[in-house]
Symmetry: C7
Subunit: 235 residues, 7 copies
């Protein structure tokens, strides 16, 4: 509270006396207020499962998707302020297209992630704008066939994972993943595991119509699953 | 109140300690202070009905329209600060014209909506200007014959709907829509339903001269209805 | 008062917690502190009558006019900060001239009004400058012979009217207009009505030398009336 | 005082809750702290008489003039911050020269006054700089032989006069002018009147060496009077 | 004090409620904290005598001069912040050189003074920088043989003099000059008078090694005097 | 505390009354909150050992490296905000590549370090952004075969070392280095020493999987060591 | 304290009510917190002796030099924030190189000093950045064989000396120099004197390994002395 009264938390352009960036820490809370997503590297591809929370029967899922096709071989989702995410992911889409045009080959996921993370870093250092209030999870298959999963945080750091989660309850979900995830799970196995984890975490709140999934398999083609297509992965 | 005294709500460029964007939340209140509009996808087109609230006999409806013809195949209306809306919708009109000139075909509604939503996102992140205090509702028929309804909120998110409402009493109206809207309603049926909902919501305050409607049918041509033309849809 | 202490009213770039733009509301008070003007659409033209309040015998009316000739077919006047008005109306004059040069035809009033209203909107959203503290009333005859009357408010909204008023006592005057204005009044009838209304509103304060009038008739030519030329319309 | 504590008076970029621009009102006080000048339209020209207040015997009047020759046919003086005035009047000089070069004819006074007034308006609306703390009085003979007198105030308004005053005691002086000024006074008569008014206003403080005068006669040539040249107009 | 608590004195970009520019007034105090200089117009040239205050035996007078050669026919000195002065006087030097190159003749002193005064005016009106905390005294012989002495103050005003002083005790010195200065004094007489005045003002503090002088005679050539060269003018 | 209440610590653009830059000092605390790294010059190369602290079994070390290959002959690591470090080190990578392209030879380490230090200096002087919250440690072999170790601090200073440490416990580690480091240690010996020091400092917390190392030997080629490759250097 | 509470010391862009620039005065304290340097003009060259304070046996003196070779004929050192100094001295190095390229001759020291002083002046007048917290001491031999010593202070003033000191205890050291420095001392004599003064000032704290010296002799070539090379000048 002391640091709030003193105003160290009014801009990402100042440090608190103990060396913290409070605005950035608040933005991290925004991320944890967001609905969760799980990303997993499967033996034959990559998988994302995202909770959308909303279930208005008049809303159209296609036009309100939470998982983005950054390029045919890279999927991404977000936790936090979704309009912030859209702006960053549209930038990623353009970077991916430019790479294809310039080098005549798909971009590798880490290059893309690094560019987006640099944008986020800048907004955690300069005044006059707030940090991006969003964590992004990228999953893709690179031209060298490696399957990758990256998460960028609010400060512009990024890390590579075999399986991880962002948003509400992320620590709880990551704990389950550390226990149950195995590297030999295939896409179907990953999908089963992710849905099972959400069932355990949400309990009565679990409702398959709240979810949206996407995977990229050996053909390096982005595929989205909703409704009945997704339901059949429920064990 | 605590957060107000601490000043977390003075610019959209800072997060509150619990991860909220208070200026953006205030702008959402502005939207709910605005008069309401209903948008519906009909079996043969799209329909917007807008409450203008004013009924000065000396005011001229044509020159004070609340529903905009963004392009012949896309209509839009707004709730909140109407001058903010006009500025954004004029930008949409220009984007639509540029698309026609560049690609020799009409723009699809979602591309347009995304551009406008990006503008709104920027004003929810940078200091030095307030967020746009307006929700926009777009209804259109795309070149591929799909009928679409989108709403952009104050943060720059957008969602697709079969039927929805913006402005004052939006939750109440959406509840009625979820109950009474059916996908097989044609333009006339949608118009009847929307007028009926407003009658129920406004009670004694209902007055057909406060309203303005527009629809786009199979000929993909924007048509506006006021006064007696609109009255005949009252059951 | 609470909102004033909290500082929500120091710039047009922030919303108050209840979704208001207080600086813009203060600017509207400035407008109501200004001397009033009445605009009317006549059966054979358009009419503006403006109260100038000042009556220094050493002041020269020509060089201190309150009604502007935007173009030969469009007149305009203002309530509020008159130097703000002059800057906006000079911009309108230039736009009108550019239209004549570019399209070889006079501009229609609404296009002009929209451009000026957009400038006002920007100053109600950005920090670093105050909103324009002025309401503008435009009266003109379009190339298609339609007679138009528009008012732009402080936020950058504009509305079309048959007859209306801006400035001090505007609500009182509009009430009288709603009662007494008829669409079949010709220029002379409109001038009589407007002068009569001012007599009723100002009572003893009424003095013909405080007023300035202008009208545009079928010949689409701006004509200004002061002194004895105006006095003869007093019944 | 309340509005001062609340900070409504710290920049010309905000309105007070009752719709006032307090910084602009303070700047008007600066003007009234300045030494006075009188301008008059004579039957055969225009006249300015300016009080310089200072009377250091070591100061050189030529190089410390208070009346400017804007162009050979236009004179100007100021009340308030004299360095602000110099900057504005140098701009006027350049505009006048540009007009001569571009159109091969002298500029008319009102065009010039309008340009300078627009600069002043901008500084009454934007933050980051204070308003110009100066009232300017222009007197000139136009190419069409009309004799003109204009005053621009701090907000960027301007008005035309037959005779008027700016600076300290302006209201008192204007009252005397309204009583004693006659349109048939020639240059000599105007000079007599202006000096007489200053004698009455300053009483014992009156000292001819404090004053500087200028007039433009039928030959449209600026002439400056100080010392004995001026003394002979004292009756 | 009241105005200080209210913050009217934090930038030159605001007026106090009584129409003062407090930052500018503070800058004037800086000037009066500076060591003094006397300028005089002699019958055969112009003279400046400057008190440098410092008398470190290890300091080198040449490389720490307080009187500048702006051009061979114009000398200048300053009171206040000497680095501010240097920046302004280097600008004057460049302007003088540009004039020689462009017009193939030396610049007249007043043109130069006006340019520098305009720079100072700007810093007394805009925020984001402080006013120049320096008074400048220019002495020169113009191409038309006139001998000139100008002082620019902190607001950007300038005045012409026969003899004057800036800095500490300026009023006291000016009083003595008004009493003892005569227009028929030659360079030597002016030098005698200026040294004599400093002896009277400084009393025991007077020490010839603290002083630096410069004069420009009929040959229009800047000459600097220090140490013994200066001592011989002591009577 | 006094200086915090007075606000001297809110931006790197102001000094405290005792001449300190408090924001910069806070940023130095951020550096000490970061996990530590040790750099050493070996008789046959240079060595860096970095503690990454994290040990999530699902995290992939390659894609979350803490030691950067700036160029094949220069390695670098950081303590503090790692996204800040990445942005600075990517700039260093580009500078190194440009040097190769421009001069057809590898850049020397000090030139690179100086450029990066200059960027840091700027952020310790200007407002509107916070200082970079990171210390960087560079180790490289120059074209002239000299082996170098540099550390840049938060203010933009840099120093050369034989062996040093950054981050948490840096003073304690440097003390051990001053005692145990010898210039004749080869790469293996340096690796042994650095691991041994971390064992002593972390005690029970020591876990080889937390660490990452890199060295550059006589072949001037960057080599990274993790997991078992690093474990074999544990004595 | 009063002025601190009132905030006159938060930026170099405002004057305090008594005409002081408090931020600049604080920056001067930073200079006095810095370790000291002595500069001397010898009969056969110029000499600088600098205390580096640090004596970490693992630090490398070459790569942490405190005396800069600005050009082969000009040396410089600093007291205060050393990264500020480096940025300014690199600018000086570039200016010196540009002079050699443009005029095919070495730059004279005062031209260089003036340019750097102008940069410092700007940072003492504008807001948005702090003043440079550093005093610089330049020593050089000009193309005309004159030997020069200059010091620039925080405000951007500069002065020439025969011998002087900057940093901690500067007044005490200057007192000793005024007593003991003689113009006929040669480089060796100056070195002896400077070392002797530091021995007297530091007492027990004196340690030759803390020092770094440089001199420029008749060959106009910069030479640096550390360790044993410097020790032999100790008497």
């Amino acid at each position: 509270m002391q640091h709030q009264i003193m105003g160290y938390d009014r801009t990402s352009a100042i440090f608190s006396p103990d060396g913290h960036l409070l605005q950035v820490e608040y933005a991290e809370k925004t991320v944890r207020l967001g609905s969760s997503s799980i990303g997993l590297v499967a033996s034959d591809g990559v998988v994302i499962l995202a909770d959308k929370r909303v279930k208005d029967r008049l809303m159209i899922s296609d036009a309100s998707a939470k998982i983005y096709e950054v390029d045919s071989h890279i999927a991404a989702t977000a936790a936090g302020i979704l309009s912030d995410a859209r702006v960053l992911l549209e930038r990623a889409q353009i970077l991916a297209q430019q790479h294809r045009v310039t080098y005549d080959s798909p971009v590798d996921a880490e290059s893309l992630v690094k560019e987006i993370a640099n944008v986020k870093q800048a907004y955690s250092q300069y005044g006059g704008a707030r940090p991006f209030g969003v964590a992004l999870l990228f999953a893709g298959i690179d031209p060298d066939e490696s399957r990758n999963l990256f998460v960028t945080d609010v400060t512009g750091n990024y890390f590579g994972f075999r399986a991880t989660a962002i948003g509400e309850n992320d620590e709880k979900i990551k704990e389950m993943l550390r226990k149950d995830y195995k590297e030999n799970l295939d896409i179907e196995g990953c999908m089963n595991l992710a849905l099972d984890i959400f069932k355990r975490v949400l309990g009565k709140g679990f409702d398959i119509s709240r979810f949206e999934a996407a995977y990229i398999g050996k053909d390096k083609t982005f595929k989205r699953l909703v409704g009945d297509d997704l339901r059949k992965f429920l064990k």
